[in-house]
């Protein structure tokens, strides 16, 4: 008797989310299969995308081998962002670290102005992350949304503590939101339910928090995997959003990545590859050589 491989067909479809505008836009999500299950019925119209980090201030704790690819532009975020384009990324992710009250407490309008300059200088969509300070981010991210009106940036983190105010600014000015929750699927769903009451769910991207290899990556892996299963298999509307894995910063914080370059690239690369296998739709990396390594590994052009 001939063997016939079983083929699954699921009813859930991850929402396809567009970030950026016009020829500076890209789509993520849209799949109705589990990650890499190309043998099942269905497809993933938008294979995984990659962004590189840009900081709004000269990084203080990066090892030399992480600074090296950008050492000529490390104090100039606009030039840094432009340089990222040469490494074959799909988007740039600007981190407004300096606005953190515990870092420089830089004012919101200055940060927003920088975001606008970076967005205008590049030919790619821009992701903007605030410092993660739930109070300051209300000010900073709202200002970014306003100053960059209509550019459809991907802005976050939108948290359970500030989703109403930040969500409103992101919506009013035509952007897309990153909903972030602390590594817990129940809290992740709760935030999506609440945010969706004031914000269109097809403009939400999930940031489940991405831990580095050796520092809890398994939790992120299981969570991303579960979000995909619940969305695609059981068709839970509130988990059917694409996922951003913001892992570069987490990986390069580790002792192992700081120790030497090869180890750092592998640390970031293994984390990225794992979360990609779990189902992340867009990955934020720090080192351009990691990006190259991952692209070679998965056979992407």
């Amino acid at each position: 008797m001939d063997y016939k491989a079983p083929v699954e067909a699921y009813t859930g479809v991850v929402r396809e989310v567009t970030i950026g505008k016009g020829n500076k836009s890209l789509k993520i999500g849209g799949e109705n299969i589990l990650p890499l299950h190309f043998f099942d019925q269905g497809s993933n119209p938008n294979p995984v995308k990659f962004a590189l980090e840009v900081l709004d201030m000269k990084p203080e704790d990066w090892p030399e081998h992480a600074v090296e690819p950008f050492k000529d532009v490390i104090s100039d975020p606009v030039a840094w962002a432009k340089k990222c384009q040469g490494f074959g990324v799909d988007a740039v992710s600007l981190f407004l670290m300096s606005t953190d009250p515990a870092v420089k407490n830089a004012p919101a309008d200055k940060a927003a102005e920088l975001a606008r300059k970076v967005a205008e200088a590049i030919n790619l969509p821009l992701i903007v992350y605030g410092s993660g300070d739930e109070k300051k981010d209300v000010e900073v991210l709202s200002k970014v949304a306003e100053v960059c009106d209509g550019m459809n940036l991907l802005i976050g983190p939108v948290l359970k503590e500030n989703y109403e105010a930040v969500g409103k600014a992101i919506l009013d000015h035509g952007h897309t939101a990153i909903a972030q929750s602390p590594l817990d699927i129940n809290l992740l769903k709760e935030l999506n339910v609440k945010l969706s009451k004031v914000f269109p769910p097809d403009r939400i991207v999930i940031d489940p928090l991405s831990s580095a290899l050796g520092y809890g990556m398994e939790y992120s892996f299981s969570l991303i995997e579960r979000v995909k299963q619940i969305g695609v298999i059981t068709k839970d509307s509130m988990t059917m959003m694409p996922i951003i894995a913001n892992l570069g910063g987490e990986c390069w914080k580790t002792k192992q990545a700081k120790e030497n370059k090869k180890q750092g690239l592998l640390w970031e690369g293994m984390t990225a590859l794992s979360l990609l296998l779990a189902g992340a739709n867009i990955l934020v990396l720090r080192h351009p050589e990691t990006l190259k390594l991952i692209k070679e590994t998965i056979g992407a052009r």
Partner: protein
Amino acid sequence: MVIIGENIHVIAQAVSTAIRERNAKVIQDLTKAQTEAGADYIDLNVGPMKKDTEETMQWLVSTVQGVTDLPLSIDTMNPVAMEAGLKACRKRPLLNSASGKSGSKEQMLPLAKRYNCDVVISVMTDKGMPPDVDSKIESIMDTVTHANELGIPNEDIWVDPILLPVSTAGEGQRFAVANLDFIKILGDVLPGVKSTVGLSNTSNGVPDELRPLINRTYLVMLGRNGLYSAIADPLDKELMSLARGEMPEIVGLIYKAMDGEDMNLSALSQKQVEYVKTARVLKAETLYSNAWLES
């Protein structure tokens, strides 16, 4: 459904203070309220009881028995407190609880025989909490066999599968489903045994105002699968109505949700919709979040 009133519980600050200060009124008020609300047993959860164990237990049992004729459930892990409690009971009490742990097998189960009482036996063993239905069944069969050898018949045994909070990320809903399955097959593998659960534990971690909805819905679901009794809050009137079968419409809707029937939610009242959504969470059809009623 036999309801064991849970409200005399040392985790409640008022109760632990009342016991320490020998304040009979607080304890008797709680006893009367539960008795009037229709509880079948009064649970006395006294915790580990480190000092004045026997004297405290005697005081508590006689204080409670002063205002109720209901049988008592003596709820402690301390065998000395347990024996003092059982000794002081006028009616045939419930020993709550024994387990498959060796200490419990050696010290608690013989008490059930000696005082000829009913006994709650949990699925716990020296290896901890069995993680799935098969291992729960395996553990409880071992412990019940041991109890039978001591001369305790199945009819006197109330099996507790141990409920865990449904809100625990990733695991909670899996446990909720496993315990529904466990209760369903228990009667087949151990004919004659009864069952009980610590119902309110299911809703631990759920926002306070929503806890009763989880408890009530899960009680109906477990009841359908054959649950004999629950340690629960008899002061929750709606829970008691459901337990007595006074709300057939709601019960019917919960059954339909259990069976995965398609329902037109827009034709239902808000309260009915809430029960249906909650049943779907408890059977793990939809992912739990604190906002489960809102999506």
